[in-house]
Symmetry: C2
Subunit: 341 residues, 2 copies
DNA sequence: CAAAAAATGATGTACGTACCTCATTTTTCT
DNA sequence: AGAAAAATGAGGTACGTACATCATTTTTTG
């Protein structure tokens, strides 16, 4: 099998290599007639740029950075490991990735960090940060200065023009609701809903999706107000304990945030999880174990490895002025049961 | 950021480029001492082969072929489209893929085709074929003649040394059972189980996984004997009709084969699908629509795009004598509900 | 119709690696 | 010690493309 090169293309088009180069790289001083001729030859012989040759010639290291929260539990750890792993396996591809962890409680700090980035140091940025106007503006400005941006797992409003990697959180909440509803059978009762914080748009959207499905299809179930743990054990104990005192008909629990460990451990002390349906987000060593010993019934997950690789592929494509292969880059809402772990 | 080249490596190791080349490519006439010296320098400066340069130099088109069944419905069509799409988008990578469809009812024909392949025409083969000794032997022989093989979605016994792309079918069946069981609530009754054929190991394993979970966890449910449609509408009508006459307590349906259309259309005529739980395999335009209008409750899917790309990545890696990145290549058992489509 | 402008051709270099040949040095063996 | 063998060095070529420079031809303009 012979793969046509620029030389073959020149011959087929009846022009010189120099002209082929002018057409392929959009250089000036080529007549429209010649452009058409070359274009026709491209179609005819099926010419495709040899990526290896282009990359070799460019021979530019691509430096990407993930901005992730400083505080977090197992899922965060997994994300970081995935970035490190990708960094290693993509070195031969001239792709480098690292992680910067910031205190997401302070939007100005985050915005300042983003603003302080020197575009000549970095080709692209994958950002996971709660919504906030200063952060959004800093992202916009950095993007205008030529750094490619991917919104990573968590999107800022009004930045739809930027690439996003992650799931539709409304659909994720709806999926959780469907499982809680169906798994509860014909039982009647309340659903406890726990989040780290309801300030993030992720949680809000998940909650909306959850309520929509429960209200539409499971009138026997009543979703309770969201409890916010702020990631603190003592607070979690207090508010969950409080709710359990006032409410003795709990048939299901939905933990909306990605770190289920604290809430589950707290609830365990007061409630027999075997009897109720528990759905959590994100696969971690903890949630996996909980699934296996029946403490929880399902995990709604977005694969962190996929997410990291997808973000890097998109950044790489943008850096090379290619269009990302969108079909490959959508992140699925995975449903994990004991059986398909 | 500076990426070290072989030249830097030679300098760091205090040897010539020629010696570096001898070490990197395992050529003879290098003392162990020098090998160690170069190896140490590789670690120290973090040298990694530039893939683009290697590929450019090799500059060999990789030709891969998918062997798929001749008969099939929507899922098969989707697979073929995915191969075609991959073929287009991987041309710039010197990777070419095509499809050969064979009549899987005739193992000798399949084996003959495989045996007739000229290793100088093809670098790798992805095979989806029912189990059979002649086919298995033909695969083995072709592999020994230097053609890389991936068992695609369907595995042959005793060929564990070959790469496999696809899901664990026992787990897939178990997952289906969990959903049928949980979604049925506290109802008591029978589960209709439909397959195109029970001769394939896929179906057998799915059935085993299904029964294991139902028997262990859902004593209110009774799985019926498998019905085989052979992909024929008239036969499907007859055997499904037969079973419905003798059995009036059906609360669930599990369609094990990848083409759910015929069975669903037949059952629809006799049963109100809204009242019972229906689980099928594989996402197709039909199953998607059925999920949306509530004819079915869940789809157990293996993403055909992932599967095709994964097979090609593995074949490419093997052709270049690299190890495939196994973490990335496992195919998940996806559970699709109306909410997370 | 000549001069200016635009279009095209001819040719060279570079990217990093693999593979080759030939010369030279070092080690091993008798 | 001397010959044979092994190890190492020096240097060139090629892969396909991008990006130069300069020469030459064709077209446009005044």
């Amino acid at each position: 099998m012979i793969v046509p090169t620029t030389k073959d293309l020149a011959e087929a088009a009846g022009v010189s290599l120099a002209t082929v180069d002018r057409v392929l790289n959009d250089r000036p001083n080529v007549s429209q007639k010649t452009r058409d001729k070359v274009q026709a030859a491209i179609e005819q012989i099926g010419f495709v740029r040899n990526l290896a040759a282009v990359n070799l010639l460019r021979n530019k290291p691509y430096r990407f950075r993930f901005i992730l929260p400083k505080r977090g539990d197992l899922y965060l750890k997994e994300l970081i490991q995935q970035v490190e792993h990708a960094n290693k396996s993509l070195r031969s591809d001239m792709t480098f990735a690292d992680v910067e962890q910031l205190d997401m409680g302070d939007p100005h700090l985050v915005a300042n960090y983003i603003s302080s980035i020197d575009p000549s140091d970095l080709d692209g940025l994958a950002i996971m940060a709660p919504e906030s106007p200063p952060v959004r503006d800093a992202i916009s400005r950095l993007n205008e200065r030529g750094v490619h941006i991917v919104q990573f797992l968590s999107a800022q409003e009004n930045l739809e023009q930027l690439d996003f990697v992650g799931v539709n959180n409304y659909a994720a909440g709806a999926t959780a609701a469907k499982i809680v509803g169906k798994f509860s059978g014909s039982k009647t009762g309340s659903i406890m809903i726990i989040s780290e914080t309801m300030l993030s748009s992720d949680s809000i959207e998940r909650r909306h999706g959850f309520d929509a499905v429960i209200n539409a299809r499971f009138e026997n179930l009543r979703p309770l107000p969201s409890l916010e743990t702020y990631g603190e054990v003592s607070r979690a104990k207090r508010i969950i304990g409080n709710q359990l005192e006032h409410c003795d008909d709990i048939v299901g629990v939905y933990i909306m945030s990605s770190e289920a460990r604290i809430p589950i451990e707290v609830i365990c002390e007061k409630l027999n999880l075997n009897d109720i349906t528990v759905v959590v987000h994100e696969r971690t060593p903890f949630s996996e174990a909980a699934l296996k010993n029946d403490q929880i019934d399902a995990i709604i997950a977005q694969n962190p490895g996929h997410a990291v690789r997808s973000a890097l592929r998109i950044l790489r494509a943008r850096s090379e002025a290619r269009e990302p292969n969108s079909a490959q880059e959508s992140i699925r809402i995975e449903i994990l049961l004991d059986e398909n772990l």
